[in-house]
Subunit: 224 residues, 2 copies
């Protein structure tokens, strides 16, 4: 489904260069459930942003469903992001002036589909239908995170990329979200998730470890 | 040092009322190290915001250093927040157009103190002096969180309130931050920290459990 070949990412700030990714090779087949782990600043979010077509590699190749993403137009990238990829941001990225329900509806509206019931079902799946009318500023941290998860899942994408999806959730809410991702994965959705919590990574069938912009290990494991 | 007596907080949104806190009693002495835990949406951040004078109770009394906070003027509240309380927000709340160093300097500038070396020392204490010139958008999630921690500590406040300070940190960075808080606590700084991670709560000497806006348990424990 996705393939990174010798991908590097360099951020240039004035005279300084930050090598966030240094020659990463990663292949994920359809239906896999992968956990990405590693120290703070090791390049996990940078990698996930490239996989989600939110940024471009400085060098190397990224193939999505066999196609070289470098040859895609901006419109094609946006269309792929909207229909095939669900992205849960580390900082949620909810629209501040839209309610929880409107935030979850956003990908549907963007795709030209108007389906309030489907958005409400996504909110119900993360346990938040009772907060549908709240703005993000009227939600707790973990509730905002769950709205971001519902928004990523509402289009039933082929690939879900989740960046620390349980960072603000207590253990019960975390297990509920991981069970939801597991159910979707069993239905065929590919999941690539960044986490720093071993209890959460235990739900994946493969763990990729990052350090200083490189992959230092990539192993299958027995999932929880 | 701080005392909540029958404190309630009701958020009113149009016709709906959300009872985030329902009659909370909490007393914390100077020098304590308290962990606040509980499910997502149970009122932990609401409680911490009241303790940090960022919001006011709907009913009940909050005494800070023996003084009833209801009798304080806005100027006195802001002065107390700036000099006596360090606050680490769940969503970091960094100024987007200021560098990491400038964000850490902010409380000093606000107090009329100009001390770049002290701000740099605070950044060094959280392991980020090599990112001093980065804007928040040029930092990883865990790095932003650590800048927010450095900013809360730079004034050496009497009270540090930290809301999920390790939510985006890997276990090594988490232990480094908790050791830093422990050292400051041994020097006399009172720490009240919200966390959903048992490994992090283990550093505290007292654990307060919230559920549905109430405190359901409050017990001393042997710290790590
Ligand atoms: N400004 C607001 N207006 C309306 N409701 C609010 C507001 N802020 C918080 N709430 C609600 O109050 C409840 C408590 O929120 P709070 O942020 O204190 O929870 P929390 O324990 O910190 O949760 P989390 O662990 O998810 O961060 C939540 O259900 C939330 O939806
Ligand atoms: N826009 C940017 N400009 C410059 N440097 C950046 C930018 N974004 C990230 N970085 C740097 O690149 C490195 C990798 O960042 P990245 O966000 O991928 O880390 P991460 O593994 O997700 O960390 P965390 O676990 O803390 O979220 C970090 O050291 C960060 O400072
Ligand atoms: Mg990250
Ligand atoms: Mg909270």
């Amino acid at each position: 489904l996705i393939e990174l070949r010798q991908v590097s990412k360099v951020y240039r700030m004035g005279g300084v260069e930050v090598h966030a990714l240094r020659g990463v090779d990663l292949q994920v087949e359809a239906g896999e459930f992968v956990a990405i782990m590693g120290p703070s600043g090791s390049g996990k979010s940078t990698c996930l942003n490239l996989l989600g077509l939110l940024d471009r590699p400085s060098s190397g190749e990224y193939r999505f469903e066999g196609q070289n993403t470098a040859s895609l137009s901006e419109v094609e990238r946006a269309r792929l992001r909207n229909r095939r990829i669900g992205f849960v941001f580390q900082s949620f990225n909810l629209l501040p002036r839209a309610t929880a329900l409107e935030n979850v509806e956003l990908p549907l509206v963007y795709a030209g589909v108007r389906d309030r019931r489907r958005a409400l079902a996504a909110l119900r799946a993360v346990g938040l239908e009772h907060r549908a009318g709240h703005l993000p500023s009227q939600l707790s941290g973990g509730e905002q995170q769950r709205v971001a998860i519902a928004r990523a899942l509402v289009m039933r994408p082929a690939l879900v990329l989740a960046d620390e999806p349980t960072g603000n959730l207590d253990s019960l809410a975390s297990v509920e979200i991981m069970s939801l991702l597991q159910t979707l994965n069993q239905e065929g959705i590919t999941v690539v998730m960044v986490t720093h919590e071993p209890d959460v990574a235990a739900f994946a069938r493969r763990v990729v470890q990052f350090r200083d912009g490189r992959i230092v290990s990539d192993r299958p494991q027995q999932a929880r």
